[in-house]
Symmetry: C2
Subunit: 104 residues, 2 copies
């Protein structure tokens, strides 16, 4: 199951932090490690999980490997969440703003 890989990947806080960092711009594994108190193999393993879930893409550039957010993965979460849109409470203001920004 695709959603299985996605949610399992996001269940780990370190992986969500990596994903969030990548959302700010593509980066290689070493750059991602900056200020993250994580070993090189651990980072490599986390990136492999994120990649397996389709949340992240890789692109070899010489001896560096550049990673960036895979829009397909994000879209899959959006599609899953869309099934439950009837339950989004209108009273949450922040969400209203988000909805407006989504409309374009």
């Amino acid at each position: 199951m695709v959603e299985d890989d996605i949610f399992r990947a996001l269940a780990d806080p370190t992986r969500r932090a990596i994903f969030e960092k990548l959302a700010g711009g593509s980066m290689n594994a070493s750059a991602l490690r900056q200020g993250m108190a994580i070993s090189q193999p651990a980072m490599s393993q986390h990136l492999a999980v994120l990649r397996g879930a389709g949340l992240v893409r890789e692109a070899r550039q010489g001896r560096f490997v550049n990673y960036d957010v895979d829009p397909e993965g994000v879209a899959l979460i959006a599609q899953w969440l869309a099934k439950y849109r009837t339950y989004w409470p209108a009273r949450i203001d922040a969400l209203k703003v988000v909805l407006k920004e989504m409309d374009q």
Copy 2:
């Protein structure tokens, strides 16, 4: 971390199935078990996890306990996802439909 509980809860396929079933209408634990090949304690434990994550609410009704989707939890996922909306690819048709439905 709130998102930690949410994504950890959704990482399990059985729990996602329960959540999806509840999205179709509130139900008690026994009704949820119908056609799910899951023991009574397992269901109880799964519901406890979903409740702990804020994805599901419970309401005692006599000796039954009625469960339903908690809109707050769904909203939290929406808010988390909103951070990555710049990565949603426009070329995915299904998503376009979803976006239109969101706009109201």
